[in-house]
Symmetry: C2
Subunit: 290 residues, 2 copies
């Protein structure tokens, strides 16, 4: 076991905790840091997680440090104020938060200046994917660093791809969210129309679900929309964070994405009406009769 790198994990929430748990189960020595303690974290401690009192303490004792935080501002402060000043040269820092591609590039440069390596490696698959170790992991960075991280990623995910250099993982995740934004909007619009036309929407789903309209959003979230089941697989407030990053990056590239703009406006209206903690399928509530 002593050959395995010691891993630090900062951010032990609904995603991070099960991910760190998989690493412990695989025999890694794992240290953890989180702003607050929770029953989820107590369980990890009982399974052998070592506790670190600060990001700096975490970085000082680990070979690979993973962050799984909330917002880009969290990533920036944890990395620049905690991890980077304390990390030993040669440490590999990996941000698995969905965050800004531009920030990922800046942090990779800052890490290199310290003699450290960095990867951006956001995931998709949600809390279910985190619990089942079936996440998709989209990675940006250097090939050698990807190779070094791959055995660790393989404990947490299934589809793992090096997309390109620093920031490319975040860009890929943004592309994913951009596709989803209009797809979930189209799903909500089609089902709202069916309902307004007086059709039995379950019959409509059955008829159109297998064809050219088919999607994860239609076939998996469509039935939840119709049932009014707005329990979050993925929360509106997190999706809005991602759409904001995507629009900012697109603007910097002078790329206009009107479908994305429209979807964000609907999700903002939804957040005002129902709060940010409902699932993205609640977008159907933004339509008459939804």
């Amino acid at each position: 076991m002593t050959d395995l790198p010691r891993i630090g994990f900062a951010g032990l929430g609904i995603m991070g905790a099960p991910m760190a748990g998989h690493l412990l189960a695989a025999g890694y020595r794992v240290s953890g840091y989180n702003r607050s303690r929770s029953p989820r974290i107590e369980e990890l401690l009982a399974k052998g997680l070592a506790w670190a009192d600060s990001p700096a303490a975490l970085a000082a004792q680990c070979d690979i440090v993973i962050t799984m935080l909330g917002f880009p501002s969290d990533v920036e402060s944890v990395w620049t104020e905690g991890l980077l000043p304390a990390a030993r040269p040669g440490t590999l820092l990996i941000d698995m938060t969905t965050s800004s591609p531009s920030l990922a590039r800046r942090l990779a440069e800052a890490a290199a200046a310290k003699g450290c390596a960095a990867l951006d490696a956001p995931v998709s698959g949600g809390d279910v994917g985190a619990r089942n170790a079936t996440l998709s992991i989209m990675v940006g960075g250097a090939e050698a660093d990807f190779a070094r991280a791959l055995p660790v990623f393989e404990k947490m995910g299934k589809t793992i791809r090096l997309i390109g250099g620093p920031g490319a993982g975040q860009h890929c995740k943004m592309a994913n969210q951009i596709v989803i934004a209009s797809t979930v909007m189209g799903t909500a619009e089609g089902l709202s129309y069916a309902r307004a036309a007086g059709l039995d929407p379950a019959k409509v789903l059955e008829a159109i679900g297998p064809g050219a309209a088919s999607s994860f959003q239609l076939n998996v979230l469509g039935p939840k929309m119709l049932a009014g089941d707005f329990a979050p697989g993925f929360m509106v407030k997190h999706f809005l964070k991602d759409l904001g990053i995507a629009l900012e990056e697109a603007a910097a590239m002078k790329l206009d994405l009107p479908g994305l703009r429209q979807a964000r406006a609907l999700f903002e209206r939804l957040r005002e009406a129902k709060g940010g903690e409902v699932g993205t399928q609640a977008i159907i509530a933004a339509y008459a009769g939804g």
Copy 2:
């Protein structure tokens, strides 16, 4: 064979010709009408298709008459000027064109007034589905009439559903097109973003294709978008017809569908730039660098 109804088929184009061919192959006596002759129609005549010189002549000699035309205006004139005045009481008239739900209801009333029955039964699955008899058929009308038509539908399609009363088939098809409109827009936006960010879009497709972004549009049309292969599976001019009907019907229901409005604006811009005969995946050309 004399127990089988005699079927009339008006509209023997890229969809109608193979559909009529399946009926001939199944042993039905089929009469055909089309505004013009084509090699495709000569083949059907060689296989036993009887020719009718007008919609009225077609209706006069058949028990079930199917129309597969271009625009709602075509459907309206063929039905009101040709089929309905000539059809014998008891004739079952079926419009398989993607057309207006309101028109379908009006035509069903006009048919009933003549002692005839009517179904609206638009399809999805495109010319490939028509050739392979794997169409999805979404039907509006009375149950007894659906039961009478079902053996005929089964020769042309695979997923066949009675959705509701007159117009419900067209409404269901509109719901299908509404879902597709924003889904294909989201696909184009996500891939345009990936390209603008300098990623290898093929790697992005591989990474995001299996997850929450997955759809027929992303997984089947996405690669064509990236290859610049704009050969039509479904032509932009036909899609624009459908989106126009959907928006008109939605407006009549006081239902605002901003994603659909946005998608139509993009497809209109695309038609101006590339003409209406490219496939819907060409929407990626509406984006910078597309």
